[in-house]
């Protein structure tokens, strides 16, 4: 299969098309891609292990930082699992506020994606326009939560901030502006000839392949699979809201664009419904510091697809195990399929079309001793010792500093 005339082109771990380190080794025959090898694992941050070392409340802030775009998704997914174990039923107003933030987050994420997609096909004007409009929703998020990215809205047993009538007005005003702009972008996507040329019939993923490879979110919905956790397994206030699951049958990047744009319109309508139905009452209930022993799985429809958290508790104030499966991990297998037989020029947009978030995906690492056939897995403690030894070998020794620190305390 491998042709010696083929050129191997490394796209990543460092490459201007990728915003995060990830390796795509591409075999090129002329401009055509014959083979793509995807390597994960350049951005492991040890967050799952870190969660086991901290209390539930501190974990909330850690999981919020798994992703810079869908921060609310991860923290809500985690807090839902914890609340299920603790048997907490949060007040309806808190549910609505969580849903509101999650939809606003979807709006900002999809607008961001549209701009990135424009940039990947060399349409920088679209990037500038969408990112300018994205500022509107970022301002609203900052108004409600005080932050543009990590909103810190969730707490175990509810949310931390209430919504005032003044903020309500601002949200509705912003929704109106954004709806107008999105209508324009839908028109643009359907009519701009060079954009259509670059998006349609690119990175095709048939319905069967999408099912077989377990694609989620807009990637799956653009292949005609009407799968949406908000509809299939409603959480927060989604059961009481009226919305459609947007699908497309194009199975290509153009379909994925239409799905995201359609979802934007649904999100605006959902934000309006939430503002109308927002019930009165408290925004949180008191939660115990120690969570009883148990385990729970929580699913959440993040802007990029189904997010999945597993939490196991052991009766203390720290979780026993936290497992996160970010949507990109489910979609990354489909990328290799989409790239097959395509052009090098389409590679950036095909990768971007799943809206990848690699640092969210790089989660698990298991080190085995390379010598002999020993099956020992490196433990936390041995890794720590190895780290200290490594620094000592480089002439950096913290042990004296640690001693001093201990004496001063």
């Amino acid at each position: 299969m491998h042709d010696p005339r083929d050129v191997q082109v490394p796209i990543g771990p460092q490459h201007p098309a990728l915003k995060e380190p990830e390796s795509f080794l591409i075999s090129l025959h002329g401009e055509k891609i014959t083979d793509a090898t995807i390597k994960l694992g350049y951005n492991h941050r040890g967050i799952e292990k870190g969660c086991e070392e901290r209390s539930y409340i501190r974990d909330l802030y850690l999981v919020e930082r798994i992703c810079g775009i869908c921060s609310h998704s991860h923290s809500t997914c985690f807090v839902q699992a914890v609340e299920e174990i603790a048997g907490l039923e949060i007040p309806p107003r808190a549910k609505y506020i969580r849903t509101l933030i999650s939809e606003l987050e979807r709006i900002h994420s999809h607008l961001l994606w549209l701009g990135v997609a424009g940039h990947e096909v060399g349409f920088d004007t679209l990037l500038m326009y969408t990112w300018r409009d994205r500022e509107v929703v970022m301002d609203v998020l900052a108004l409600i939560s005080g932050n543009r990215v990590n909103y810190s809205m969730n707490t175990i047993g509810g949310v931390r901030r209430d919504i005032t009538p003044k903020q309500k007005e601002e949200v509705l005003k912003a929704t109106g502006i954004l709806e107008e702009r999105t209508k324009y972008y839908i028109w643009l996507a359907q009519n701009e000839s060079t954009l259509l040329e670059r998006l349609s019939k690119v990175g095709t993923l048939s319905r069967d392949d999408a099912e077989r490879l377990g694609a989620v979110g807009p990637t799956a919905r653009a292949s005609g699979i009407a799968h949406d956790v908000r509809k299939d397994d409603p959480y927060a206030a989604y059961a009481e809201l009226d919305f459609k699951v947007i699908t497309a049958n194009q199975c290509d990047v153009y379909g994925r664009t239409l799905v995201r744009l359609g979802e934007l319109m649904e999100s605006y309508s959902m934000v309006r419904q939430i503002m109308q139905k927002l019930p009165d009452g408290p925004i949180s209930i008191k939660a115990p510091r120690k969570i009883p022993a148990g385990q729970a799985v929580s699913r959440y429809e993040a802007p990029r697809g189904e997010d999945f958290h597993y939490v196991r508790s052991n009766g203390t104030d720290k979780p026993d195990r936290v497992k996160v499966r970010a949507p990109t991990l489910a979609n990354i297998q489909a990328v290799a399929k989409m790239l097959e037989g395509g052009y090098l020029a389409d590679l950036p947009i095909v990768i971007a079309a799943i809206d990848p978030c690699f640092s969210c995906t790089d989660r698990l690492i298991s080190l085995r001793q390379t010598d002999a056939q020993s099956k020992n897995t490196a433990t936390w403690e041995s890794l720590r010792l190895k780290g200290i030894e490594w620094y000592k070998s480089k002439g950096i020794d913290f042990s004296s500093l640690n001693k001093k620190l201990a004496e001063s305390l």
Partner: protein, 314 residues
């Protein structure tokens, strides 16, 4: 002799083009920014970028062929400056002219592309090589329509010298309208030559970093970027001379130069508008477009001009 040196080094040669290149780059960047709803750079930005690049370290890759790697930016710069000597700017006559200089101008503008190709190819990096090959492949797509479009007015004027063409069209002003179709096609082909969106395929940053220029740094990169700017100016000047030869009969050279500058900036503005309107095409789509639409239209212009030459009074 002294006059020739003045032409080459000061006006309309090196020094003039150097300044003009900076201004053209600034106009292009500022307009593009305004079209994209951004503020854009201050007026000295291109100069500041140039000075910064000059002061940076010059890295030559170990595997690259050092001689060609260093020579190619020089060749590109020289080849992009030279055509201006044959393009009439301040009167009906250019600095130098002979029957057939139109071919030389087109040839020199192609040499710059060849220099980019060789520089990229001998960098021996995958991105550079792909960018270089793309640059050459693209050349075969836009070069034919561009050449045909520029030769068609020459056929009507029955001369192979730019100065001769300019004076012909100045004496037969109405004939200018015959070449409008060719002007449109040449403008689109020029987008391909200058590697601007939607034809910026050879330097598509999201795919192959900076194409043929990926390995270049410091002063060499500054030289390449300068040659890109000057190529834009000379390419547009060629279009102005061939398709918009107005007012060259006037007596004051200063006024003629002002008219020339206004026309150049007008075309640059159109190019900038086009480049902020579209997405980047793929190489195969670009070649299809050039051969399916541009080449037949250019041929049509040639046929029209051949017929008109027989029909119209001289």
């Amino acid at each position: 002799m002294l006059k020739a040196i003045f032409y080459i080094l000061v006006f309309p040669g090196f020094l003039f083009l150097f300044m003009f290149g900076f201004i053209a780059e600034y106009v292009d960047r500022k307009l593009c920014a305004r079209f994209q709803n951004r503020i854009g750079p201050p007026w000295f930005q291109p100069v500041a970028d140039f000075i910064k690049l000059i002061s940076k370290e010059k890295i030559i890759p170990q595997e690259a062929d050092a001689t060609i790697f260093i020579l190619m930016p020089l060749l590109a710069l020289a080849a992009s400056i030279a055509p201006i000597l044959y393009i009439p700017i301040w009167s009906e006559h250019a600095a130098f002219s002979f029957d057939g200089d139109i071919i030389v101008v087109l040839y020199l503008l192609t040499v710059t592309k060849l220099a980019y190709f060789l520089g990229g190819w001998y960098s021996r990096s995958v991105y550079s090589m792909i960018g270089a090959v793309r640059s050459l492949t693209q050349l075969f797509a836009y070069e034919v329509p561009l050449f045909l479009c520029i030769l068609a007015p020459a056929m009507l004027a029955d001369t192979w010298s730019l100065s001769g063409m300019v004076s012909f069209y100045n004496h037969h002003l109405g004939y200018w309208f015959c070449n409008i179709l060719g002007f449109a096609v040449a403008l689109v082909s020029l987008l391909g030559k200058l590697e601007k969106v939607p034809f910026d395929i050879p330097e598509a940053e999201t795919e192959i970093v900076a194409g043929a220029f990926t390995e270049y740094s410091g002063g060499l990169l500054a030289m390449l970027r300068m040659s890109l700017n000057i190529e834009m100016v000379t390419g547009v000047s060629l279009l102005v001379a061939v398709f918009l030869p107005f007012g060259l009969k006037l007596h004051s050279p200063a006024v003629i130069v002002l008219i020339y500058l206004a026309e150049v900036f007008l075309i640059i503005a159109v190019i900038t508008l086009l480049r902020s309107l579209f997405a980047r095409l793929r190489l195969d789509q670009m070649i299809n477009f050039c051969w399916k639409y541009l080449a037949p239209l250019a041929l049509a212009q040639v046929v029209v001009n051949l017929i008109l030459k027989g029909v119209l009074p001289r």
